[in-house]
């Protein structure tokens, strides 16, 4: 879920080889000692290594092999077909729609979540009272089972009995069949995405603000930045730069992984209006059993997510000296 975050802390830290250690005591015969230690280490790490290989590395190789071959479920024959699957995928208007929808979804969810999450974090931090109460309320959707909450959203968005349309009608605004209209389906899913994730952005920003040293505010005071807005402009927001970068990437990865709401609420419809990458991957691989096509989509998806994460790691590495 929030796994990619860990990379950031990894990059900021001295590498294992560079660190000073004192473990093997100098009195012992060092070579034998080193051998026992290595043996112990590999024994302890053995099960994890085995499962990492079988459950992570083998499947990654597998997905590339399937993507480059004509293999199908239940068929014994198997031959490499080069990039044929990728050509098929990119020639398919359905896939292009799915890719564009996903990008549009990400471009709504990420800025919306970052801006709202930052504003709420700033507001919470600007006073002392009720902090954990407000934090809890805004963080709640991030915890709640999205499949169940999607069902609640469907009731809210119901064309006749839903609260949304009833409210709009009551104040004289036009209503819509939100999830069945191809103009509104994707934006509505994106709104749900923002609703779910903004608390997550909020807590990351709150943590970022906590780590800003008080000295900087004192220095800003001395320099004449008395106004709250000035302090925001000269200290808080610049110091949140690296955190913001991190939040943007993590949210982008999460947005690219959008699946539950699409599966429960629209199944990619109406037409292909709300079809996103992971839904395409799921449907082609496991409903239509087009394994080559599905694997090619998975490789494209992998390339996007890995690129985003590497950008994050690279940028954060450079910004480590910022403070």
């Amino acid at each position: 879920m929030s796994e990619p975050l860990a990379l950031s802390s990894a990059s900021g830290e001295p590498s294992a080889t560079g660190s000073v250690r004192t473990l093997p005591s100098p009195a012992s015969p060092t070579r034998r000692r080193a051998f026992t230690e290595a043996l112990a280490a590999w024994t302890l790490a053995g099960p994890a290594v085995f499962f990492l290989l079988v459950l992570f590395f083998l499947p990654v190789i597998g997905i590339f092999v399937i993507a480059l071959s004509d293999w199908q479920f239940g068929v014994r024959s198997f031959s490499f077909v080069g990039l044929a699957n990728f050509r098929e995928v990119f020639a398919d208007p359905g896939f292009r729609t799915s890719l564009l929808n996903t990008v549009a979804y990400v471009l709504i969810v990420v800025p919306g979540t970052v801006v709202l999450g930052l504003l709420i974090a700033l507001l919470i931090e600007s006073g002392k009272s009720c902090r954990s109460f407000y934090r809890a309320i805004h963080f709640l959707p991030f915890m709640a089972t999205l499949t169940a909450m999607a069902i609640a959203w469907e009731a809210l968005l119901h064309p006749t009995i839903g609260l949304v349309n009833q409210t709009l009608a009551a104040i004289g605004l036009p209503t819509a069949n939100w999830l069945r209209d191809e103009n509104t389906a994707l934006p509505v899913l994106a709104a749900i995405g923002i609703w779910q994730n903004l608390g997550y952005a909020m807590v990351l920003f709150l943590a970022g603000m906590k780590s800003i040293p008080q000295d900087l505010y004192d220095a800003a005071d001395v320099d004449g930045a008395d106004l709250w807005l000035d302090r925001m402009r000269t200290v808080t927001l610049p110091m949140l730069g690296p955190v913001s970068m991190f939040v943007v990437i993590v949210l982008a990865v999460r947005a690219f992984e959008c699946f539950d709401t699409v599966k429960v609420l629209t199944r990619g419809g109406p037409g292909h209006a709300s079809e996103v990458l992971l839904y395409t991957l799921y449907r082609e691989s496991f409903e239509y059993l087009r394994t080559g096509y599905g694997a090619a989509v998975a490789v494209v998806f992998l390339a996007i997510v890995v690129t985003l994460t590497l950008v994050q790691a690279g940028v954060l590495d450079r910004k480590v000296h910022y403070q």
Partner: protein
């Protein structure tokens, strides 16, 4: 001085404005939860009526919740969720802690390589691996069993990473002292390191349980029998096949699925925030 405080007051959101905005956004955030609970205690007549009230004229909660618990095998779904999440977590800690200890406190050939493997594992989105893992499950003949729901997650790169970071902060002297006391390396992991790293263990447990309790993607792929479904998949099937437009029981079922994590979250907010953000920003 007076000019300063005045503009300060003008530009910094005053306590009233702060509370007003945060209460408003908070209320908006809670609307889906409130609507869900409200529908779950209303009779069909009121759900399909045009009333606006949160509290029903006729309390129909008992009927709706009874229907949710009996028509959908909801207790079964919850039980499945508990079995799957608990097994995954137990195995993850069992396999990750010793590996993390080796990475943090032992010197051996290939340690950097192993750590590199963990970082690459962190990078991989799990959905990409689903097709090969599905084939693996098929070859092992375990599709449509609890084992299918559990096996891809028995080791967690994030768990190894998190434990390693925490173990590194424990002084080497502690390890030396334990060795002098005659403890084996494995005993050091379980009797010294893991208890000392309890905050990391709790944070990881929350991260793991929340993630797997809420997961829809993988169960959807590997499980067909209703009797094996975890809550998200179960409630989706309940919606599609049985409840349809019977909103009352459906909302009651949704409420019951969301409830355990929400209660746990409200009871231990600080831990949840830490667990879910993985100690990302220090």
């Amino acid at each position: 001085m007076s000019a300063n405080t005045r503009s300060n007051r003008l530009l910094q959101p005053s306590a009233t404005v702060r509370h007003a905005i945060l209460l408003a956004t908070g209320a908006l955030i809670l609307v889906p939860f409130v609507w869900m609970v409200s529908l779950s205690i209303k009779p069909p007549g009121e759900i399909f009526g045009t009333s606006f009230s949160f509290w029903p004229a006729q309390f129909y909660g008992i009927e709706n919740y009874t229907k949710a618990l009996t028509e959908a095998p909801l207790p079964r779904y919850m039980g499945n969720g508990i079995i799957v999440c608990a097994t995954i977590l137990a195995l993850q800690i069992l396999f990750c802690a010793p590996c993390a200890y080796a990475l943090a406190k032992l010197r051996f050939l290939g340690r950097d390589l192993l750590f590199g493997m963990v970082l690459i594992g962190l990078l991989l989105p799990h959905q990409v691996l689903s097709l090969p893992l599905f084939i693996l499950g098929y070859q092992l003949g375990i599709l449509n069993t609890y084992a299918a729901l559990i096996f891809p997650y028995v080791v967690s790169p994030f768990g190894i990473f998190l434990f390693r970071q925490f173990f590194k902060t424990i002084p080497d002297d502690v390890v030396h002292a334990a060795r002098l006391d005659g403890l084996s390396e494995l005993a050091i992991v379980w009797r010294i390191m893991v208890p000392m790293a309890l905050p990391a263990v709790i944070a990881f447990s929350i991260f793991s349980v929340v993630g797997h309790w809420n997961d829809l993607f993988w169960p959807l792929i590997v499980v067909r029998d209703q009797s094996l479904m975890p809550p998200p998949l179960g409630i989706m099937v309940f919606k599609n096949e049985e409840a349809g437009n019977d909103y009352g029981p459906l909302m009651a079922a949704s409420t019951l699925v969301v409830l355990p994590l929400v209660i746990a979250f409200l009871a231990a907010q600080k831990w949840f925030v830490e667990g879910m953000t993985g100690g990302a920003v220090k």
